[in-house]
């Protein structure tokens, strides 16, 4: 009985240093799965955006926070889930703010453009966002080979 899916788990501290490490690991996985160079670049950006959001927004006390990355390798697709157990957010609230200030800097971070989730959606074939205030956020994304 060979499994139809192979799983790789990665868990990093809530620190900007390690987003690049996730990117490296994921690009290695995508290379092994024979994605094209362009697709690999797309996947790298998408997974980075999700990790960056968890690192930036999820935890009040970053020193205790962890970010969990799960890569599920199917025959025909790569699925990546990025999760945190942070403060979560109200998706409809964020959408409303974005609609109001299109292209304007938003949020606490002055240099943030509100592009993170947009990139994930536009670069991947599947992008599901799940966030519960007080519980955390989970982003499930997938790209077909």
């Amino acid at each position: 009985m060979t499994p139809t899916v192979e799983t790789i788990n990665l868990e990093i501290p809530c620190a900007s240093d390690f987003v690049g490490v996730v990117r490296l690991a994921v690009s290695g996985i995508a290379t092994r799965m024979n994605f094209s160079i362009e697709e690999i670049e797309d996947i790298k950006i998408a997974v980075s955006e999700a990790c960056t959001n968890s690192v930036q927004y999820a935890y009040e006390d970053k020193s205790q926070g962890r970010v969990y990355i799960t890569c599920n390798l199917y025959k025909e697709k790569l699925e990546i889930i990025v999760e945190d157990h942070g403060k979560g957010f109200d998706m409809s609230e964020v959408e409303a703010i974005k609609a109001n200030k299109e292209g304007e800097p938003m949020g606490d971070e002055r240099s943030s453009l509100g592009l993170g989730m947009t990139f994930i959606k536009s670069l991947m074939d599947v992008a599901d966002f799940n966030s519960t205030k007080g519980k955390g956020t989970s982003v499930r994304m997938a790209k077909h080979i």
Partner: protein, 115 residues
């Protein structure tokens, strides 16, 4: 090594040219913001940012560039970005930054000339 990152600043015809080597993300973008900030200290008309050796940028990097461009334009200057990699050009297009105060060029000499 994959995660190496380097910024060098030089000057061509009195225009500060900032060249980046590596990946611009949440970890490295503060250093980029800082370098552009230092270049702006002498109130130049423009800063040229050469991304020819950048093989990765995401929304954090774009955010840093957008903020720097805004600061520059506030003091009457402009940010000319040299960028040839299709993947990067694509990201600039998706972000819409190239339609605001960030100007994209293929060749550094052009970016310096148009300041």
């Amino acid at each position: 090594m994959p995660l190496d990152f380097k910024i060098t600043t030089s000057e061509t015809n009195s225009v500060p040219v900032i060249s980046v080597d590596g990946e611009i993300d949440i970890y490295t973008s503060p250093r980029l913001t800082e370098s552009i900030g230092s270049a702006m200290a002498n109130h130049p008309k423009a800063v040229v940012l050469n991304l020819e050796n950048v093989h990765y940028i995401d929304s954090t990097g774009l955010g840093a560039i957008a903020l720097s461009a805004e600061n520059l334009s506030t003091q009457g200057g402009r940010l000319n970005v040299v960028c040839t990699k299709p993947q990067l050009v694509k990201i600039f297009e998706v972000s819409g930054l190239n339609q605001k105060n960030v100007n994209i060029y293929d060749i550094e000499a052009e970016a310096v000339k148009n300041t």
